[in-house]
Structures are given as structure tokens and as C-alpha cells.
């Protein structure tokens, strides 16, 4: 009989949905210790289980090319998808590190919105120079991360609720700065600031480059560093990670700073440059799209682990669907239906594969 260990106060005892799936897979694995070793053939990486979203993406390209042959298969469409999705991609990537560690950051869309209106206001009514504006915006985004981290790690408030609350505070800040008006001004659409997001090579904006760079950095962290190993361990089994000597609190603190920096400091400035304005409605819609991409991404490549390239694939696949539907003249609600259905199917397929009823 196993002794009952003394009950300990757990800080933020929360695992992400994907983490939960993993733990159920654990239980199933224990029940069937005799399960044969997984085949790892030469082409296992190309299985539907591993990169299903890529196949769906290819299918979408084929379908839309056949549907609207004059409009869809063009370089302009490629530009549109990449440029439109770059901001969503950055916000989704910002979520990858916290989610890996089992931490939710629901303030992320509001942080982006806050940095958008702050940045726009500083350059127009604030009369601040461009370099100083960028510095202030980046510092502000990190401060938001510090507040999140203090709430979640310091005050031990569940990250789901804690960052929901800080999101509301940011929403208040957005309204204070922007109100119901759109902040516009000559400095927003000129010179270096305008070039941040709107210049590029071959019609592909630099924002796409920022997105790919962020993905590469996150990929290296998660796959090749001690921190990455620790983050996943923390997300999968907080108690075991803590008992193995992993600094779980420090990790959670840092990932909340990083997510705030990427979503607010990077994506917030980029979106301001891209749309050359600051509006209270810019930020919040990114939240759902980013979470959808991050969760869909976790079903790709790394069997349930949140990861950078899977997230990027998910963003582009979902973006292709949205843009394709738009070009095909589908009604406005179609793209939301598309995203919702894809997310449900992806998680259902993954779950079925894990429990062994498929594949």
C-alpha cells in the first residue's frame, strides 16, 4: 500500500487541456503495459497523425484553386495570407511558451490592443519620437507581463482567472487612451515607423520575418535547451517537476514576461505600423485566433506538445482557409465556422488516436 504523502499547498495547479490529454494517455499506457513499441519508420514524420494540418492545408489549396482558379492560385494570395496572418502568428507563438508550462495567458489580446493604442497615442497626441515610443511600448508590454507573473506566481491565482482579470484592466487602459475614436496621425504612416511592418521583399512584409524569427527562437528554446525541457515537464506534471528540483516558479514567471513581450512589444508595435492607427477594437479578436492556432499546433509534429512550427503551420492553414473563403465570396461567418470545425476535428482526431481507436 502506498503511503499518503503529506498534503502540500500547490501554487497554481493547472494543466493545459493538451497536458490533460497527455495524462490520460499516461493512464492508458499503464493499463496496457504490454502495448507494442511504436513503429518508427523512415516516413513516420510524414504520417497524417504527425502533420495532418499540412495535408489539410494542401487539400484547401487544391479546393480553392479549383473553386476560384482565377483568383486563388496567385502570388497576391500568398502575400495576402502571409501578411494578414503574421500578427496572429506572433500572438499565437507568444502563447506557446506559457502553454508548454501549463500557464494560460488570456490577457494577450488585450496586451496587444493596449500596446497598439499606447504606441499610436505616443506618436500622435503624445508627440514622442519614434525610438522613444518603441522603447516605452516595449517596456509597457513587459510591465504587463510582470503584473501577470506577480498575480499568477506571486499571489498564486489560477492563471486562467488571473490573466482574465488583468485583461480587463488592460481593456480599461485601452478605453482610457483611445475611447471610441481611431487614433491617426501623419507620423503613423510615414518614415521608419511605417516601414516596420509595411516594407519587405517581393511583397512579403517584414512582419512575416518577425513571425518566422520568433518561431525559430521558440523552437530552439523548447527543443534544444534545458529551459525547454523544464517548461514541458512543468506543464505536464507540476508536482513531479518541482520534486525533481526544477525551478517551476521562476519558469512560470519568465514565460509570462516573454508572452507579454512578444504579444505587446513585438506584435503590438507591428500591428500599429501595419494599420497606421490605434483603435480600441484591434486587440481582443486576436485572442481566440491565437489560442486556436496554438492548440491546433500542439496536435502537429510533437504529439501533443505545444511547439513553434506546428503553431506556424496551424496559423497559415487557418489563414489559407479564411482568405480562400473570402476570395470565393463566402459569407462573413464562414471563416469562423471553418476555424471552429477544424479545431474540433483536430482535437477529436488526436484524442481518438491517443486512445487507440484509430491509427
Amino acid at each position: 500500500m502506498t503511503g499518503i504523502p503529506p498534503r502540500r499547498a500547490t501554487a497554481v495547479d493547472q494543466s493545459s487541456p493538451v497536458g490533460t490529454t497527455g495524462q490520460e494517455a499516461t493512464a492508458a499506457g499503464v493499463a496496457e503495459p504490454a502495448a507494442p513499441a511504436r513503429r518508427r519508420g523512415r516516413f513516420a514524420w510524414a504520417s497524417f497523425k504527425n502533420i495532418g494540418a499540412v495535408y489539410v492545408w494542401i487539400l484547401l489549396i487544391v479546393v480553392f484553386s479549383a473553386w476560384t482558379p482565377d483568383k486563388f492560385p496567385t502570388w497576391a494570395t500568398v502575400q495576402q495570407i502571409l501578411n494578414e496572418q503574421a500578427i496572429t502568428g506572433l500572438v499565437a507563438l507568444a502563447l506557446v511558451l506559457p502553454l508548454s508550462a501549463g500557464v494560460f495567458d488570456l490577457s494577450i489580446g488585450y496586451n496587444l490592443g493596449f500596446c497598439n493604442v499606447l504606441c499610436a497615442w505616443l506618436l500622435t497626441s503624445g508627440g514622442v519620437s519614434v525610438p522613444l515610443t518603441l522603447l516605452i511600448t516595449v517596456v509597457a508590454s513587459v510591465l504587463v507581463g510582470v503584473v501577470n507573473a506577480v498575480v499568477v506566481v506571486g499571489a498564486r491565482i489560477d492563471s486562467f482567472i488571473g490573466t482574465l482579470a488583468t485583461g480587463f484592466l488592460l481593456l480599461a487602459g485601452i478605453t482610457v487612451i483611445a475611447g471610441q475614436t481611431q487614433i491617426v496621425g501623419p507620423k503613423l504612416s510615414a518614415g521608419f515607423f511605417q516601414a516596420i511592418a509595411n516594407s519587405g521583399v517581393g511583397g512579403i512584409d517584414f512582419t512575416v520575418l518577425y513571425m518566422v524569427a520568433a518561431a525559430a527562437i521558440i523552437w530552439v528554446i523548447l527543443e534544444f535547451t534545458v529551459a525547454g525541457r523544464w517548461l514541458y515537464a512543468t506543464g505536464y506534471n507540476l508536482d513531479a517537476a518541482r520534486l525533481a528540483g526544477i525551478p517551476v516558479k521562476r519558469l512560470k514567471f519568465i514565460v509570462l514576461l516573454v508572452s507579454a513581450l512578444i504579444a505587446g512589444g513585438v506584435a503590438g508595435i507591428a500591428v500599429t505600423s501595419q494599420i497606421a492607427s490605434g483603435t480600441s477594437t484591434v486587440g481582443p479578436p486576436y485572442l481566440l485566433n491565437a489560442f486556436a492556432a496554438a492548440f491546433l499546433g500542439a496536435t502537429q509534429l510533437r504529439q501533443g506538445r505545444f511547439n513553434a512550427w506546428g503553431t506556424l503551420i496551424a496559423v497559415l492553414m487557418l489563414g489559407t482557409g479564411t482568405v480562400g473563403l473570402g476570395l470565393a465570396g463566402a459569407p462573413d461567418w464562414a471563416s469562423s465556422v471553418f476555424t471552429g470545425v477544424v479545431l474540433l476535428l483536430a482535437l477529436a482526431v488526436t484524442r481518438a488516436e491517443r486512445s487507440g481507436s484509430l491509427g
Binding site: T2, P6, R8, P33, A241, R242
Partner: protein, 524 residues
């Protein structure tokens, strides 16, 4: 003494089991067990770990299906074991060790979760009637519990009582069996008497009670008859007034083959203890002192709730429960509640609940093995993947992890191999002190000896100091130079060298008299 010779208390049997056997993949854990529980009888069930006690309960609960040939009757009506048809499911009720209560809810809600709410049209809860029913049910046991406060605010024994009342909800009063699994495990000694009177009250109202407990004096105090299981077989059923705890302990142990090996330990000259703990006081512990020297293996024994399960967590700084006391490791004071700080002082810790506290579920075996020592195979925070593979290879070779597949998720390995990986995780840090909790829980017989061998060889090779806290006395017998026995939060006995034996540890742990064992052996 022949089995089952106690006189019948009533003409009709409450519960009768005949020829119950159960084997798991070829290993027999229950062999031809017969059991009779009379109505209005409290029937104790005792046995060591692995005696088949919990398997028997699970067969009764319909969780396991017994091997063919088993027969069962309830109130002289035959029924099939291993399934839970409404018919007998309604007549056999269980209160499990963890009570399965919702502590945030009050007594009324918890009782209603078992028996349903009193309803009024159109489908709303009739709260007043529900309250009346709950009060009435609790009053039967002389309990004046405030039914409107969350259970978390009640005394442990009151929670147990609520669990019993819930199990009995809708009870048909003249028949049936109530099974209590370790009901005193989490009760302070002062509340055990209250529980006993509640249990007797249940049996006096016509129900048979099966009372499973580790605490032998507890069983003797409350039971009318006691059945003893050992190695999956029924040793016998005895009237409680005919046995004392010493005799029960001897019956539970039987003839144990004691490994003859040298247990003598003398610390090397001019060496200092690796671990020194003074006056450790926490939730259960009431001032415990321990010294462990390099190369020494010290065992900690104690029944559930004695403080045995708390001590290793304190020594590894994994618990916030420390109230007072001083723990030093290699001359440095151990900070409180920081496993990381303990690790940097050289403490390696293997927690009790492998799945919840050690295994990172979806992680591959490789990632699990290197989890704690991962900084040692990294340059500037970046993993040296070649070194990681080499490290895992070396450990797979050294402690024989099967199958040798570093990429396989750890939960797909057998319990024994999982435990080896967790041990390797800790040992790869080259700790000075190894704190082991339940080192062989859920580990099959073959892997057990392999795990002992890993620990012994590390101790010899590296002069590692080890603390083993285990509810499994076999672990302590196999490993320890010295065993500390904890009862009610205090070290009550220290067994050294040649004194360490299965029987001696068991008697000291249960608080029974060693003399009885000798007498028993002499008589046979």
C-alpha cells in the same frame, strides 16, 4: 487453531464467500478464500501488504472478477461476484479509505450525493425534508453535526461518519453488509473510539460490517471476529476475544525466511553524519531525531498516520508542513519547502506516488531519466544531445532498464523499470543523501531485488547515505542497517544490525510484543 470455528451468532449468514481465487497474468493473489460475515457482526479483516486483502475487497465491490469456481451468497441468496448488479450492489456498501467526500459541500449535500435528494414537484429539491432526513440519519449514530457547514470544517471522525451515513443511505435495515476500508487510517487516536461506537451501532441495526484495518489493536477493539489473510490465503477466522495483537501479527507474518546477511554498520573513523535531524515536528511528527552516516541505510517504519509517510518529504524539503526542528545535510541547514535547494545540498529524493510525483507522463524515458540532471549535460543552457544519449545508455546498461528504448514514453514501461528510471534520475546527480519513499510500490517481485541491488551497490561504491521510508517491511529487511520505528509521531524503537528482521519490525510497528512471536514459533 483451526479456521472458522467461532460459533455462529445467528442462524442466517449475512455474506458468505466460498472458494474465491484471483490471479493476474499467472500470478495468484487470492487462493480459495472462504469468508463468512454474520448479520450484526463486525468482522475484522487483516493482512500485510500483498496478502490479497485489497484484492478481496475489490472482488466484493465488483471491480475484479474472481477466477471461475468462486461462489457467494448474501442473506442465503446466491449472487455473482465481480459484477455490480443493482440487486446486491444495493446490499453491499463500501466506504473507501479516502472517503470520497466533497469537502467543499456540507453534510446534507454529501449524504444526498449517495442517496439522492428529496424531491418535490416539479423536480425541485425539497430542502426542508432533505435536512430532516439527514439529521435523522446522523442522529442514529448520536452525532450532532451541523449539516450546513462544509465538511472541511468538521473533525476527521465526523467526516468518516458522514461517509458511513452516505453509504447507508436508503439502507434496508435488516440485511446487507457494510465494508469499511481502513477507516481509522487518517483518524487521530483520540477519535478512534467514537468511530468504533458508530460502527457497532451500524452492526446492531442488523448489518454485517467488514472492517479492514492495518492497526491490529483497532481491529481487536471493535470486531467480533477477525479473519487473517496471508499470501492470498485465509489463515483462519478467530474470535476477537481469543486473540491479542501479538498473536494476530504472528499469524499475518507466518514463517518468514529471514535473509542472513551482515547488517553491522560502523561509521568510518572521523566521518560525520550526512544527515542530522533534531526535533522534527510537523503535521504528524512530534519531535524526531535522526542521524545517518555515509554508507549507511536507515529504514523508517510506521503505520499509516504515524508520521512515517511525512518524514521523507521533510528530509527532502518537499513539504511545507515543518513546524519546528532542525535538519542539516552535510553540515548545511536544509531550507524549508524547496526541493531544489535540498537537491543542491546533495539530497536525492524518490517520492511515494510514482505516477503523480515522479513520472512526467508524455515524456520519453530518456527525458524522464535526465530531468533532474539536465543542467549537467548542457553548455550555456543548450543540451548536448550526444552526452544525453550517452548518459541514458550508461544508466540503461548499469541498472538494466528493459526495453532499451530511450524514446519510448516512460508510462509504457513496467512499474519496476519506471522506478529504475526514477532512481537513475536521482542517482545521476551523485547525491550524498538518498531519501526513498515506498521504493518498490507497484514493482513486481523480480524487479524488486534488482532495485535493492542498485541501491546497495550505490551505497557501497559511493558511501551514499540512504533513508528508506516504506510501508512494505520487506524493503526495510532487504536494505537496512538500522530501522527506526515511528508511532504517534515519535521514534519508539530503534532496531540495529542483527535485530533487524521482518518479525521484529512488524511487532514494533504495530506496537505488539515481540515475545508473542517467539512463543508462537516455539509452539509450532
Amino acid at each position: 487453531m483451526p479456521a472458522g470455528d467461532a460459533e455462529r451468532l445467528r442462524p442466517a449468514t449475512g455474506l458468505r464467500l466460498e472458494n474465491v481465487s484471483k490471479s493476474f497474468s499467472g500470478r495468484t493473489v487470492l487462493r480459495n478464500v472462504d469468508l463468512e460475515v454474520m448479520p450484526d457482526e463486525v468482522h475484522g479483516l487483516v493482512g500485510q501488504n500483498g496478502s490479497g486483502k485489497s484484492t478481496l475487497i475489490k472482488v466484493l465491490a465488483g471491480y475484479h472478477k474472481p477466477d471461475p469456481g468462486a461462489r457467494a451468497w448474501l442473506d442465503d441468496e446466491p449472487f455473482e461476484l465481480g459484477s455490480v448488479p443493482a440487486e446486491h450492489g444495493l446490499k453491499i456498501r463500501f466506504v473507501h479509505q479516502d472517503l470520497a467526500l466533497v469537502l467543499q459541500l456540507d453534510a446534507m449535500d454529501n449524504v444526498a450525493l449517495g442517496g439522492g435528494y428529496a424531491k418535490r414537484r416539479p423536480g425541485l429539491i425539497h430542502w426542508r425534508q432533505q435536512a430532516r432526513q439527514t439529521r435523522k440519519a446522523l442522529a442514529r449514530f448520536g452525532l450532532a453535526i451541523d449539516i450546513d457547514v462544509p465538511l472541511a470544517q468538521l473533525a476527521p471522525v465526523e467526516r468518516t461518519a458522514v461517509a458511513i451515513v452516505r453509504a447507508l443511505a436508503g439502507w434496508d435495515e435488516d440485511s446487507g453488509v457494510l465494508v469499511l476500508d481502513e477507516p481509522t487510517a487518517s483518524l487521530p487516536a483520540s477519535e478512534v473510539d467514537r468511530l468504533h461506537s458508530i460502527v457497532r451501532e451500524v452492526s446492531q441495526q442488523g448489518a454485517g460490517v467488514v472492517y479492514v484495518s492495518h492497526r491490529l489493536d483497532d481491529v481487536i477493539a471493535v470486531a467480533d471476529r477477525i479473519s487473517v489473510l496471508r499470501d492470498g490465503e485465509l489463515v483462519g477466522t478467530y474470535r476477537a476475544d481469543e486473540v491479542d495483537s501479538g498473536r494476530l501479527a504472528s499469524l499475518m507474518v507466518g514463517h518468514v525466511v529471514e535473509h542472513k546477511r551482515s547488517r553491522e554498520f560502523a561509521p568510518a573513523k572521523e566521518s560525520a553524519p550526512v544527515l542530522t535531524a533534531r526535533g522534527v515536528t510537523a503535521r504528524w511528527l512530534q519531535g524526531v531525531d535522526i542521524d545517518v552516516w555515509p554508507g549507511e541505510i536507515v529504514g523508517v517504519s510506521g503505520v499509516l498516520g504515524s508520521g512515517r509517510e511525512e518524514l521523507p518529504y521533510l528530509l527532502a524539503s518537499a513539504s511545507t508542513a515543518l513546524v519546528s526542528g532542525e535538519i542539516t545535510v552535510a553540515g548545511h541547514q536544509l531550507p524549508s519547502a524547496s526541493p531544489r535547494a535540498a537537491q543542491s545540498l546533495g539530497v536525492g529524493f524518490v517520492p511515494a506516488d510514482r505516477l503523480r510525483e515522479a513520472v512526467i507522463g508524455p515524456f520519453a524515458m530518456r527525458e524522464n531519466l535526465t530531468l533532474a540532471g539536465v543542467t549537467g549535460i548542457a553548455t550555456g543552457g543548450v543540451l548536448r544531445q550526444h552526452d544525453e544519449r550517452a548518459l541514458v545508455e550508461a544508466w540503461m546498461e548499469k541498472i538494466n532498464i528493459v526495453p532499451r528504448d530511450p524514446g519510448r514514453p516512460l508510462p509504457k514501461f513496467s512499474g519496476g523499470n519506471q522506478q529504475k528510471v526514477i532512481l537513475a534520475r536521482v542517482l545521476s546527480l551523485s547525491p550524498k543523501l538518498l531519501v526513498l519513499t515506498e521504493p518498490t510500490a507497484g514493482v513486481d517481485v523480480g524487479a524488486r531485488e534488482a532495485i535493492y541491488e542498485v541501491i546497495r551497490s550505490e551505497v557501497v561504491e559511493r558511501q551514499l547515505a540512504v533513508v528508506v521510508a516504506s510501508s512494505d517491511i520487506q524493503d526495510l529487511v532487504a536494505l537496512c542497517h538500522r530501522v527506526l520505528v515511528i508511532r504517534h509521531g515519535r521514534v519508539v524503537r530503534e532496531l540495529r544490525g542483527g535485530e533487524v528482521s521482518y518479525g521484529a519490525i512488524l511487532h514494533a510497528t504495530e506496537g505488539t510484543n515481540q515475545q508473542d512471536l517467539t512463543a508462537e514459533k516455539g509452539a509450532q
